[in-house]
């Protein structure tokens, strides 16, 4: 009897672990990132940031925050549409988490090796837009609704250049599977020493990366594109009515989204889990290390930008997207294709 249970349990455990690995990563990352962001902000603004909770530089600050959030009262306004109000955080986090399924964390680990990985990823992240609108609408609050609409407009607008630049990589790689895409970038052949990362393979891909990076800033609602939550204008955007753990879930999803897009950028442009030094420091574990390093580097840049640049106005935001990024990204797509044809 124990044998049968064991027979079932062993693969089941394996599966659960398999599915929980990214979750662990996200949670750890979130704790670190929240703390890190405050610290970075502090240093940039020439102050110290959180110092008290925990020992070294207030390392336990995020954990304290978490504990505080768990104890907070959960308020659902009477006028809100209860089901949607409750449902939105589920959808938001589940969607952004499901997207991690196709991210190749290491040469040995990918959640689900489907052959339309990127496509799936982009499709699933679109659900975020939906949950944002849902949250905004369900709150039955003017700020929420306006924030939700703005956020949706912003997300859908910037989705176009994001996807267009992703397409440029697909054109070069010829595959939608992120594992394959990463594998294609192994080796150090460019100019004899540079790694085979796509960003080095084609000069127009550098342009593509810049566009991509700007777009993911907007996609994940980071400054200078953080209009949906711009506290000074819209109180709290679509999250205005949320409190406690529900709000925390939105926050978590946003951080996860940031990580996700950074990791995607790392996979597409910077060789994913490939070591920058060829065979040196390669292997599954080192792969994971390099991958997270690249991703966190991008996250760091995003934080850096946050505390450096002011926020755009909503019309400027749209103008940047529609009049500059979209045409540019498609022209770039054509140029990349042309380059690929000629060379």
């Amino acid at each position: 009897m124990f044998e049968t249970i064991g027979n079932i349990m062993a693969p089941l455990t394996a599966i659960i672990i398999h599915a929980a690995i990214p979750l662990t990563i996200i949670l750890v990352y979130a704790l670190v990132a929240i703390w890190g962001e405050r610290k970075i902000a502090g240093f940039i603004q020439d102050r110290l940031g959180p110092m008290r909770v925990g020992g070294f530089h207030g390392w336990a600050q995020s954990i304290a925050d978490l504990l505080k959030l768990i104890q907070k009262e959960d308020i659902i306004p009477t006028d809100a549409s209860r089901f949607l109000f409750k449902f939105a955080p589920f959808m938001m986090f589940a969607a952004s988490y499901a997207a991690f399924a196709v991210i190749p964390f290491s040469s040995d680990y990918i959640g689900s090796n489907i052959n339309v990985g990127v496509f799936y990823l982009l499709a699933v992240t679109s659900i975020l837009t939906l949950s944002v609108i849902m949250a905004g609408w369900a709150s039955n609050n003017k700020w929420s609704l306006l924030g939700g609409m703005r956020s949706a407009a912003q997300m859908v607008s910037y989705e176009v250049p994001t996807i267009a630049t992703v397409l440029t990589v697909i054109v070069v790689a010829g595959s939608l599977n992120l594992m394959t895409v990463t594998e294609m970038q192994s080796g150090n052949d460019i100019l004899g020493f540079l790694p085979n990362w796509f960003i080095f393979q084609n000069p127009f891909l550098i342009v593509a990366f810049i566009i991509f990076f700007i777009s993911i800033l907007a996609e994940s609602h980071r400054v200078p594109f953080d209009l949906p939550e711009s506290e000074s204008e819209l109180v709290g955007g679509y999250q205005t009515e949320y409190s406690g753990m529900r709000w925390a879930m939105f926050m978590l999803a946003e951080y996860a989204d940031m990580l996700l897009l950074s990791l995607l950028g790392a996979t597409l442009f910077f060789g994913g889990w490939n070591s920058p030094f060829g065979e040196f420091m390669a292997g599954p574990f080192w792969g994971f290390f390099w991958f997270m390093l690249k991703g966190l580097l991008l996250v760091f840049v995003m934080m850096w930008i946050r505390w450096t640049l002011p926020r755009y106005r909503v019309d400027q935001l749209m103008h940047i997207c529609w009049s500059i990024l979209i045409p540019l990204s498609f022209v770039n797509l054509i140029l990349v294709a042309l380059w690929e044809m000629i060379f």
Partner: protein, 146 residues
Amino acid sequence: MIEDFGYVLLFLVTGALFVGVALFVSKLIRPDRPNAEKLLTYECGEIPFGNARVQFNNRFYIIGLMFLIFEVEILLLFPWATVFKDVGWLAFWAMFIFVSLIFIGFIYELGKGQLKWDIPRPIRPTYVEGVGVMEESEAETLKKSA
């Protein structure tokens, strides 16, 4: 292949479960003492007026529309991109024509100013001799008519 999609489902479920567990844990700990004022819709401390489901700007719709067009374009470009290198020049020109056709429409839309976000014009009060304080543009028309 099908199993791979099973993993995708698994991830979705895990994500949702995590939210559920987190909320459940917090439910065990957190206080629950609602009162009418807490449950009021937040409008910067004022008592909210009217329904929040107001009509909003038409631009949102146009943005949505444009997004739709590009999204659909991208939908068609994905299969193209994967086979691009195998097909070669033909694929390049096909995409070129396709994208440029859409861009002609896009440029038309841009040129017609459909994608410009309205910026509310600031209302500047001015003082008009004998009339009093009024809006600038009204003052202009008043001047012209006089």
